[in-house]
């Protein structure tokens, strides 16, 4: 053994924990004891299923039903995504999350000049009711629970298309189960999409339309969830993630209350979307703290009477920004720990990222490993047998308190500045997020944070992606664009013009009219998603086309 090798071995043997803080920067003691836990069992924890729900919202947790093992699916033309759904179902997925492509996210149809070259790349292309029919072909809408994830202000149109499809199949909206993302406000913090295509006033109005429509017509459907996950991706802390997620949700709640809805009627059908990063204990503490904070918030701020309103339901998506392209197979391990944290934290549903996501759109095999990760947790790891297994751990209880205190302080700062909409408009929250992004970067580049395979334990970079690369065929784009052109050509111009005029009048009526029914009619008259979006945009004083490139043809 050379001297260099001997020294390397000696150092590796003597290595000790380096960063003595949580991932979010909370300082840690070497050990925790009863002296560090100030919680009163009945008041602050309660049994699972008992207020304040720190230990979980169900008495029997996963013995009653496992969490919903979800997979985010969506690429190419609707028929390609439909085929991937069927593979996922065959392999045991319990819930499908349909993600739409980037043009959809921005509010463009597949044949928009700016969509060229981008159709179907990061999700499925949906421009019309016909696309929705093809996407859901052979899937019984009344029996499955689908999560629809279109972006921003396109949510109501995609939601309307799902309802229209159900009506066309002879179903009642009340039979539908599932969730619409309906969280346009957070997109204000997601790069250009917020700046260009997602005006906050219109976004909130349409979002409340969905909440109202679901509350009145679709008692089994979830009218939306606030997206703490995307905000955390900026590298804000775990406590900040709770605070911004709750602040966003309070904006929808306030909008729905102003519409005249009762908190106990709509809030039980809403949820929060959290992330799970790799610091297992902090993530568990985050999810436990969030439940306790929520119960108190609903009780004290909104006077909720319904127990279901006070029970915080959440889905967890493992953290995309915590995966790295270097040595990509390591991401399988990261995702497994994140998923474990989500389950030990009591998530109602879970989506695991695929290991190749920092490299490309997942291959089918990579998606399979992500699903198998959940199944191993459910059936081998013992994670589903006992509710809140870490409850009573001195460390986890102390950390839960600490996360709650920091989250409450940050939520107070948002509230003092006027709430979510105000801190969006003022730029304050964006500045906080940008500062978090740069602070993380500094810590990594100064080696204060170790990222395995990134700034430590590095190897020669691979020239190929292990497991190969999934490619969306350029044929998908041709297929959907051609189909859209044929749809435009065979429409009844009078029926279309009539439906669009009714939509325009409805949009002009503002808060007085819920636009979902008019959108359903317009979709059945073969209007496209962007046409419907454009008519509504104009009623709110914005350009018909989000990018200002197309004129209103109606």
């Amino acid at each position: 053994m050379s001297e260099v090798e001997t020294e390397r071995l000696r150092r590796a043997y003597a290595a000790k924990a380096k960063r003595l803080k949580t991932w979010s920067g909370i300082d840690l003691q070497p050990v925790y004891s009863p002296r560090d836990v100030a919680t009163d069992y009945a008041a602050d924890l309660g049994d699972p299923g008992q207020a304040p729900y720190t230990r979980g919202i169900h008495q029997d947790m996963y013995r009653g039903r496992l969490w919903t093992r979800r997979a985010v699916v969506g690429h190419g033309a609707p028929e390609e995504t439909n085929a991937r759904f069927k593979t996922q179902i065959e392999h045991g997925v319990a819930g499908l999350d349909v993600i739409c492509d980037t043009p959809s996210m921005v509010g463009l149809d597949a044949d928009h000049p700016m969509a060229e070259g981008e159709v179907g790349l990061c999700g499925v292309s949906i421009s019309s009711l016909e696309d929705m029919e093809i996407l859901m072909a052979g899937l019984p809408l009344e029996k499955i629970s689908t999560v629809l994830l279109p972006g921003g202000t396109q949510c109501p149109v995609v939601f309307a298309a799902y309802v229209a499809l159900a009506l066309d199949r002879g179903l009642e909206p009340s039979q539908l189960r599932g969730t619409i993302s309906n969280n346009p406000l957070h997109l204000f913090f997601c790069g250009p999409v917020g700046k260009v295509s997602n005006p906050l006033d219109m976004a909130l109005k349409l979002s409340v339309d969905i909440i109202e429509y679901c509350t009145r017509n679709m008692p089994q459907f979830h009218s939306g969830y606030s997206n703490a996950y995307d905000m955390r991706e900026s590298r804000i802390s775990a406590p900040q993630e709770i605070a911004v997620g709750f602040a966003e949700e309070m904006a929808y709640i306030d909008g729905a209350l102003q519409r005249g809805l009762e908190i106990d009627d709509f809030e039980p059908r809403r949820s929060i979307y959290f992330s799970a990063h790799t610091d297992i204990f902090e993530e568990i503490a985050k999810l436990r703290a969030a439940r306790r904070m929520w119960a108190r918030l609903m009780d004290q701020k909104y006077g909720a009477q319904n127990e279901a309103t006070r029970k915080l339901r959440f889905g967890v998506h493992t953290g995309g920004s915590s995966l790295f392209p270097q040595q990509p197979l390591n991401n399988i391990v990261r995702v497994a720990y994140q998923a474990l944290a989500a389950i030990l934290g009591g998530a109602q549903s879970l989506h695991c990222c695929s290991y190749d996501e920092p490299v490309a759109i997942p291959t089918e095999q990579a998606q399979m490993i992500a699903l198998r990760t959940q199944q191993i947790l459910a059936h081998e790891a013992g994670a589903a047998n006992v509710a809140d297994p870490l409850g009573g751990s001195y460390y986890v209880e102390a950390l839960t308190d600490k996360v709650e205190a920091e989250a409450t302080a940050f939520l107070d700062r948002i509230e003092q500045r006027g709430g979510f909409l105000a801190v969006a408009k003022s730029g304050w929250l964006q500045d906080e997020m940008d500062a978090a992004t740069l602070a993380f970067q500094d810590e990594v580049e100064a080696d204060e944070r170790i990222l395995v395979g990134v700034n430590a334990y590095t190897t020669e970079e691979e020239e190929e992606t292990p497991g190969g690369v999934f490619r969306v065929s350029a044929d998908s784009e041709r297929l959907v664009v051609e189909r859209l052109k044929r749809l435009r050509a065979r429409r009844d111009p009078d029926a279309l013009a009539g439906a669009m005029a009714r939509l325009r009048d409805g949009a002009a009526a503002g808060e007085a009219e819920n636009l979902i029914p008019a959108m359903i009619d317009a979709l059945r008259a073969k209007a496209t998603k962007a046409e419907i979006g454009g008519i509504v945009r104009q009623a709110y004083g914005y350009s018909y086309d989000p990018l200002g490139m197309l004129e209103n043809p109606f």
Binding site: M114, E118, G191, V359, T437, E445, E461, V472, L547
Partner: protein, 135 residues
Amino acid sequence: MPIKVLITKLGLDTHDRGAKVVAHRLREAGMEVVLLDTFQTPQGIVDVAVQEDVDVIGVSCLSGEHLRLTPRLMACIEVEGLGDRLVVYGGIFPKEDIPRLKEMGVDNVFMGTLTGDIAEYIEGNVGSKRSKQIA
């Protein structure tokens, strides 16, 4: 004169965290940075590059559109006579695509989390490309 760098998103991709970080780092390294963080067409990017007379065009792409949009961007760069400017990419790319991007005319591709080598690369290469073109 400081090196002038355009950092831009390409197309409809909306992931802007990396572009912001790189812009910040290059400013720290003493460069003048123009950051375009809204949707940009290839022509739109090149128009700004001409107007600002930048030395480097830095493109951020994270949604898989790089192989489809890069030929169009490089054609606009050629037509507007910016062939002597350094073109660097950052974002999410399969390793297999990096040689293909370089064949299309991209000078270098950065991915991963560390930014230290980006400023160094630009400083080391910005002049040589321009003088090569002039010669």
